[in-house]
Amino acid sequence: MSTEVTEATQTGTEYINHHLTHWTVGEGFWSYNLDSLIVSAVLGVVGIFLFWLAARKATSGVPGKWQCFVEMCVEFVDGQVKDVFHGDRKFIAPLALTIFVWVFLMNAMDLLPLDLVSTIARFAVGEHAAHHVYFRAVPTADLNTTFGLSLTVLLLVLFFSFKAKGVGGFGHEMITAPFGASPALWLPNLAINIIELCAKPFSLAMRLFGNMYAGELVFMLIALLGATWTGLTLGSGLSMFGQILMGSIWAIFHILIIALQAFIFMVLTVVYIAMAHEHH
């Protein structure tokens, strides 16, 4: 974790702000965070390619080590889905696997050295131009990514609701559950259901984003410890030691968070779809 702030003029606030700015093109809503898009796409392609390698050569005989690992993932996810969702898992289980693997990989970018990209940029385009290079390597610490995921999940929830109950049945449920079928209760029912429906993707997105964003921020704050380096003094030595110690502790703890958040996102998605599948 390179922590040297090369420009004496850069303060801690500037350092953090720089690290929290996306590489963005476009104007207003129609702008794109290229860093999130590129990193998530690369991770998605790499992850799915690695799994595809195992799937392509999947043998029912003695499996290779990689196939074994992939099968372990598959069986783990399948088991989780089986516990929650009682029905045909042909779609839900691979959906859950995709979420788990992809979100895990994106979260894992948090463990990359914080200044890796900026150091590369400094070597690639020079000290001054690097100042204008913005790149956030953790796609899940971008609200757009998490909302992109959770809104897709919302669409799937709606799709499965329609599929399981029909459009009429779904509409009927929207205005009669949970309080009752009396016409006076239609409005409260509808309000509750809409809130519930919106709360699902919102909580999904915010939970993942919050965890990853906070994790990233803590890495930055820890990195700032080392940024106080002023030469071989006792204070500099202590803060450097503090940074290494805390950075290590936080990184190790973060491994848990990375896996846990991917797991939670997966399980909640399955739960939401299972709920959509069931009649009230």
């Binding site: 476009g26 702008s31 799915i48 757009n144 995921l149 897709t152």
Partner: protein, 159 residues
């Protein structure tokens, strides 16, 4: 921290990844896993079955061995009995043969004896007659030899 169109892009990427794994990854892997499970189940049941048939074969083999042993004992016993019988038979035959030989010999001996006696009697008669003739020829003394000749004649008569 503004929301923008990145969301849409991520959603689309997500959808593509889901589609790909639903279509190309999950079925292959679960097929392989299920097939392997089936294979393992078959292997285990085959092992069970072979274990069972091994037990059966062992029992069968024990039965066959026992049967064979019984048969062998039977055969030995039979052979013993047969050999005893044969020895007895041979003994009987030999005894009968011996008896027959003895009786044959005896018969022959008695026959020979009779024959010899007859011959001897004839010869003695002849000799007696010749002797008598010679005695008679030299000195015919009917008075002196009459009782001798008489005696000879009686002896020859008697044989």
């Amino acid at each position: 921290m503004n929301l923008n169109a990145t969301m849409i892009g991520q959603g689309i990427a997500f959808a593509i990844l889901i589609w790909f794994s639903v279509k190309f990854i999950w079925p292959e892997l679960t097929n392989a896993i299920e097939e392997r499970q089936k294979k393992i189940a078959e292997g285990l049941s085959a092992a069970d079955k072979s274990q069972q048939s091994l037990v059966e074969a062992k029992a069968q083999a024990t039965g066959i061995i026992k049967e064979a042993r019984d048969k062998a004992a039977n055969i030995v016993e039979q052979a013993n009995r047969r050999s005893n019988e044969m020895v007895d038979e041979a003994k009987n035959t030999a005894r009968a043969e011996g008896q027959r030989l003895i009786s044959d010999a005896q018969q022959e001996v008695s026959l020979e004896k009779g024959r010899l006696r007859d011959q001897l009697r004839a010869e003695v008669g002849t000799l007696a007659i010749a002797g008598a003739a010679r005695v008679l020829g030299r000195e015919i003394d009917a008075k002196a030899h009459a009782d001798l000749i008489e005696q000879l004649a009686v002896e020859i008569e008697r044989g």
